[in-house]
Subunit: 166 residues, 2 copies
DNA sequence: CAAGATTGAGACGTCAATCTTC
DNA sequence: GAAGATTGACGTCTCAATCTTG
């Protein structure tokens, strides 16, 4: 394994710093609005998109450890955002389902989240540059998947736009 | 504030994912070698570069909250890596100084860290692309910090690399 | 025994309150 | 009173051990 070149090291450093700056800002804004953190948003969105899921599948989509997800689901269930349903085919598993409250909360979170994304990236990079950045970052983890945005599913009156729904 | 465009949202998502993937790998490798995490490395490196520092100044360089840094220093002092010295000019402050052990540990960590950086970025992007990525990420947090050759004057490929962490 | 999922204990992060010195 | 720094209380993360079902 060759040693990393200067440009590689600089890219690493900035990846760490840019992530921290962007994430801190976004979490800050959500907190000021009395909303939960981004992890909750991601879980809610994935459940809204992909219907009731087994924890194992959700874990894969969210890149969380099993024990971590288990406790996240505890908190979200206590907050009334999800339901744990038993799985008929496999007694070990469950199905995690979004509640109406969970759906509503995600919709309330999106405009705030979108503002943070725009402030952190959209305001600093043009569309062409953002696409270039996304391309380069995509190579770092090799995946090509969907983003955090999701329309309400309803027509035009939605407070948050239809965005990249792959 | 306009809504974020699709490319912006995709860049956000990939920033979050790429960061997590890269960081998780690096922390994993360090742990396997029985070494502490990247936060310790960053603190050790900053102290090695900038001599004894007051916690307030270290906090600025590491982008940590004050209470967070206070506890980090507790652990590092207990491990014998740093020393807390009283500050003659200002009784409220201190000077945090690296010990010989701290210096040795950072030197042991660097090759492992460098391997992780190379694996996460260097192996996937050419030097030109890495520089492009660094440039785009730099705009996200607006910083233009010292180049890889700054500080002691040693080259970045020495066990003195410019690194940092979330 | 293997896989899905949870739990107890301990490390770490976070908030607000606190202490000391300017 | 303001700034530098720490502390107590509480929440979250992490590891290993555990429980249950296939």
């Amino acid at each position: 394994m060759p040693k990393p070149c200067d440009a590689t090291i600089l890219a690493w450093t900035r990846l760490m710093r840019a992530h921290r700056a962007a994430l801190t800002q976004a979490e800050q804004v959500l907190k000021e609005e009395g909303l939960p953190g981004l992890e909750w948003y991601d879980a809610l969105l994935e459940l809204e998109r992909s219907g009731p899921l087994r924890p194992r599948d959700l874990q894969g989509k969210l890149l969380l450890a099993q024990y971590n997800l288990s406790r996240l689901l505890d908190r979200m269930a206590e907050a009334g955002l999800i339901e744990r349903r038993s799985c008929p085919q496999d007694g070990r598993g469950q199905f995690i389902a979004l509640t109406a409250e969970g759906r509503k909360l995600r919709q309330r979170m999106w405009p705030v989240y979108a503002r943070a994304i725009q402030s952190a990236i959209g305001a600093r990079l043009g569309p062409r540059e953002a696409a270039e950045l996304a391309e380069l970052l995509g190579r770092i983890y090799g995946a090509h998947e969907r983003g955090p945005a999701a329309g309400s599913g309803k027509p035009a009156s939605a407070p948050h736009g239809r965005t990249s729904r792959a």
